[in-house]
Amino acid sequence: MKRTFLGEFEEVILLTVAVLDEDAYAVSVTQELEKKTGRTVGFSAVHTTLQRLEEKGFLSSTMGGATAERGGRRKRFFTVTAFGRKALQEARQVREELWNALPPSMLQLMGE
């Protein structure tokens, strides 16, 4: 099977889209990320990543209705596809397997 590979930023964004559920578009994702992580996130980076994720098939998008805000321009809303969910789960599984494989002494050192 071809290994789907998610970069760290990609994974975070994919997760954020999943978190935001119905209301995920580039602006909300950026603001949510900044809020949750506290670090400044470049809007252009978010936008580009969203596009890339859609290209890879992890996300799908639909245009929203026109509103009087933002100069009447529509928003592009993103939702996570089944493939995207699978990729997230796989990433999580890998991580969990690695956590589980940690020797107890190490866990102790980390204060667990």
Partner: protein
């Protein structure tokens, strides 16, 4: 951006407008909309959290990061787009186009006919110009072929050129000048050719006059310089010995009928009854686009001995005759200047510099291509073309085509109003602007194609109309690939020229306004353009009209001006040029004098003539010597009364066989410094004749008359009596009440007498009327005038057709308005005035524009003439009134018809 955002149109400024604009231009087209919106939202967020300054910077930074200048939309498969050149659509364009052409028969006819006339004028002019410019271009080494031309300086230091050179020069040039691949001496000759054949045991002699420069006496090298196709014989062997002749195929057929060319070899041809030649070769005739129309090539060796040597002046270093020429082919990689540098040295070596005649003589190479055009170097075989006339012709062609294209543009843009709905529907159904433009270009193309096909049919009649200007050798072949290419190019260019703008205008209507019928004929930009085009059209026609009038005025002026002599009922002819016996001439003259119909007979060339001969005469006035090249007329004592010349001082000349005394004209007297003509009488002039210098007295002074055409001013002239050499005879006929038939009878009688006297002559009696001869001076002007007349006619016709169509259209658009006006009490005159006013204003404007341009052009043209008409203001008034009348007639047909229409009917029109 901010203005587009109703929610934030308060005090909050938006992001930098330029960055927003940049983003809208250069971002990825697929995500443009949401990115713009998103960034606006982000900007508001940043502004709230970070402050305006930072927000702006962040906005700009993100814009730059999101620019995707090379991104193309990837969603092409989402909608099926119309392929611009799809087969179905093109078929549809043509179908709609043809339907439209058929639907608007009137406008289509105007367009097609106008374009056809313009295009055919273009084709004809292309043919003529192309023919003239292609002269000698079939010669393989044309870049290396030159003629050696002579140059002279007259007493006043004015340079003149001669196509020929002194007959002994070529042989010496061959020895002295390097870098010549080959050189051929030639003589153009006119002589009677005779062949004999045996029929019924009797010898049949048949003779042809060869007057039209058909005989060339040349060295064998001629055929190395000029390439001919040899049918029999070869360039390597022919013309090496005396008494050989090479004929062209046509000439061989003329002499010997249709016999195998092999049998023509060895046949005898007698030239001028005394030069016997044997045919040693037959060559193919050169194509029509050549000045080298020689058909008999006689070996040069034939004239190197005996009397011929003297007749062709083969040892005369001082005489230059334009029929004695030399052609050279320079060696490869040699320039003309390399040869030209050697020629002065050559002349210095061979010419006696102490002889006054040799001062200022020069030789130079004239390129082969120049022979057809250079009017400063005249010879007696080429039929020269006037290069400025050719350029003027090309200009006329372009103008005619432009005028026709303008018609098309005007009618098409005006008519587009009626097609607004169609455009709207097409656009709503998904037609792009490109495909609409393509559609209208297709329609133009259909019309142009019909016009071009029609114009090809017009070419022949037009060629006949231009007969005077079409060279005799010209052949019209429609299947010439070059011509077909040109026609295709014209068709393509005309389609684009006339179709592009209307297509652009028509396709620019927006669907909403066009479906709501908000577009009216009064779109200001189109109307302005239409008006300026009409003005341009009429200005061009106006220039043509003015040109025609002024040319006609000048022609009339030249033909009717008092030339200082009588010209009516004077017949002119030459006696046999081989015959130098005085007796015969005297016999002829005395016989003619006995005719009751003949008033006077005089010997001497006509007062005004085409060529000229001058002599250098000096006069010593006590202080200094005045040397002038003076025009010469050898005459007798009947000359002055016959031509009605006025003696202002002294007496008439007395008859003499050799020069004894002079009569001079007033101009010469003035140049010699005499205040009154009487002072000149009795003074001595030094005149160099064959027997050295002679001092001869002036016995009379005559009033000035025109020696040449009116292009040149009156020059100094002397008359002398030297009957021995003069062959020109003028006969004045008692003309009062004589009909043409009686003139003919007199001529027949004179011919009979001529034949009696010159019974063995090979030269026919060929009389010409003196006034015809004078008219011939102005053949070039007559031809120019004829072409301009035709062009004017065509220009006016096309412009008027356009105006007619436009008036028809405008009237039709205003049918209702006219109906209402009539109901409310407008008179017919008011309505006609209303409809014509707009057009008339344009015509008046065009007159104002055209008049100064025409004035300037015609002033330039008139500068060629020493005696010319004044361009009076009346010419402009007449031309202006003429075109206003033409315009009124054109427009009024439509407007009167509209004005007479019953309002009850016109108001019903929907």
């Amino acid at each position: 951006m901010s203005d587009k955002e109703p929610a934030r149109k308060d005090e909050n400024p938006g992001p930098p407008a330029w960055a927003a604009k940049l983003l809208s231009r250069l971002s990825d087209p697929d995500s443009q909309e949401e990115v713009q919106g998103d960034l606006l939202e982000m900007y508001a967020y940043w502004r709230a959290t970070l402050g305006e300054r930072k927000a702006r910077w962040k906005y700009i930074g993100n814009v730059f990061k999101l620019l995707r200048p090379f991104a193309r939309t990837k969603r092409s498969e989402d909608y099926q787009k119309t392929y611009l050149f799809s087969h179905d659509m093109i078929r549809n364009y043509f179908k709609i186009g043809i339907r439209n052409v058929v639907k608007n028969k009137g406008y289509s006819a105007i367009n097609i006919f106008g374009l056809a006339i313009g295009v055919s004028a273009c084709i004809v002019i292309y043919l003529l110009v192309n023919f003239e410019l292609s002269f000698e271009n079939f010669q393989a080494d044309r870049d290396r072929i030159y003629r050696i031309a002579s140059g002279f300086q007259n007493a006043e230091g004015v340079e003149s050129k001669n196509a020929g050179l002194s007959a002994p020069m070529p042989a010496s040039i061959r020895q002295d000048v390097t870098a010549l691949e080959s050189l051929a001496a030639c003589h153009v000759w006119s002589a009677k050719a005779t062949v004999t054949s045996i029929g019924d045991k009797k010898e049949i002699r048949r003779s042809w006059k060869n007057d039209d420069a058909e005989i060339l006496i040349c060295e064998p090298e001629y055929f190395q310089i000029f390439r001919y196709d040899w049918l029999v014989g070869s360039a390597g062997t022919a013309l090496k010995t005396p008494n050989e002749v090479v004929l062209t195929q046509q000439e061989a057929e003329k002499y010997f009928g249709k016999m195998p060319l092999q049998q023509v070899l060895g046949k005898r041809v007698y030239f001028s009854d005394s030069l016997v030649t044997t045919v040693t070769g037959v060559v193919k005739d050169l194509p029509a686009n050549s000045d080298f129309r020689f058909k008999n090539f006689i070996s040069f060796k034939s004239i190197e001995g005996g009397n011929w040597r003297k007749e062709f002046q083969l040892d005369e270093w001082t005489n230059t005759n334009s029929s004695s020429m030399a052609f050279v082919k320079v060696a490869k990689n040699t320039t003309a200047s390399q040869i030209n540098r050697q020629l002065p040295i050559f002349l210095k070596k061979h010419l006696d510099q102490k002889d006054e005649w040799n001062v200022g003589r020069s030789l130079s190479l004239q390129p082969l291509a120049d022979i057809h055009f250079n009017k400063d170097i005249q010879d007696n075989f080429s039929r020269q073309a006037h290069l400025p006339s050719l350029y003027a012709l090309m200009g006329i062609a372009v103008f005619l085509l432009l005028i026709a294209a303008i018609n098309f543009i005007n009618l098409a843009t005006a008519q587009s109003i009626t097609r607004v709905k169609e455009i709207g529907v097409r656009k709503v159904l998904g037609s792009s602007r490109k495909s609409l433009i393509l559609q209208f270009l297709c329609e133009t193309f259909i019309i142009t194609m019909v016009a071009v096909l029609l114009s090809v049919c017009f070419v022949h009649p037009i060629l006949n109309m231009f007969e005077a200007f079409v060279p005799k050798q010209f052949i019209f072949n429609i299947f010439d690939p070059e011509l077909l290419g040109f026609v295709a190019l014209i068709a393509f260019l005309t389609s684009l020229l006339s179709g592009l703008y209307p297509a652009w205008v028509i396709s620019s209507y927006t669907p909403v306004s066009s479906l709501k019928s908000q577009i009216s004929a009064g779109q200001s930009r189109t109307v302005l353009l239409r008006k300026s085009l009409i003005t341009f059209q009429f200005a061009a026609s106006q220039i043509f009209i003015l040109g025609t009038i002024i040319m006609a005025a000048q022609s009339r002026f030249m033909l009717n001006k008092d030339l200082g002599f009588k010209k009516d009922a004077i017949i002119h002819f030459y006696t046999d040029w081989h015959d130098s016996e005085l007796d015969k001439k005297e016999i002829l003259l005395s016989k003619l004098r006995q005719f009751p119909e003949i008033e006077r007979v005089s010997i001497g060339s006509t007062p005004a003539r085409n060529g000229y001969s001058t002599n250098r005469i000096s006069y010593f006035d006590g202080k200094k010597e005045i040397k002038l090249d003076v025009h010469r007329r050898a005459v007798d004592d009947d000359y002055i009364p016959l031509f009605g010349l006025k003696l202002v001082a002294g007496r008439n000349i007395t008859n003499s066989d050799t020069a004894k005394e002079f009569v001079i004209n007033e101009t010469y007297a003035k140049k010699l410094g005499f205040k009154k003509p009487e002072d000149a009488v009795g003074k001595l002039l030094t005149y160099s004749s064959g027997k050295g210098d002679l001092k001869l007295p002036i016995v009379g002074v005559i009033a000035d008359f025109h020696l040449q055409s009116l292009r040149t001013s009156i020059q100094p002239l002397y008359l002398l009596s030297e009957n021995k050499y003069e062959r020109a005879v003028s006969v004045k006929i008692r003309s009062n009440g004589k009909s043409a038939a009686e003139f003919k009878a007199v001529l027949a009688k004179m011919e009979k007498t001529y034949k009696e006297v010159y019974s063995t002559s090979e030269q026919d009696f060929s009389p010409s009327f003196f006034d015809d001869t004078l008219a011939k001076f102005y053949e070039k002007e007559a031809r120019q005038a004829q072409i301009l007349n035709t062009a004017t006619g065509i220009a006016i016709l096309i412009s008027c057709m356009g105006l007619f169509g436009l008036a028809a259209f405008v009237t039709q658009q205003r049918t209702k308005e006219i109906g209402i006006r009539k109901v409310l009490g407008s008179t017919i005159y008011q309505i006609v005035g209303l409809l014509s006013k707009d057009f008339l204003r344009l015509v008046v404007l065009s007159i104002v524009i055209a008049s100064p341009i025409a004035y300037w052009l015609m002033k330039k043209w008139l500068e060629d003439f020493a005696y010319r008409v004044d361009i009076s203001i009346w010419i402009f008034v007449v031309a202006g009134v003429a075109s206003i009348v033409i315009a009124i007639l054109t427009v009024s047909y439509q407007s009167i018809r509209a004005a007479l229409l019953n309002p009850a009917k016109s108001l019903k029109v929907e």
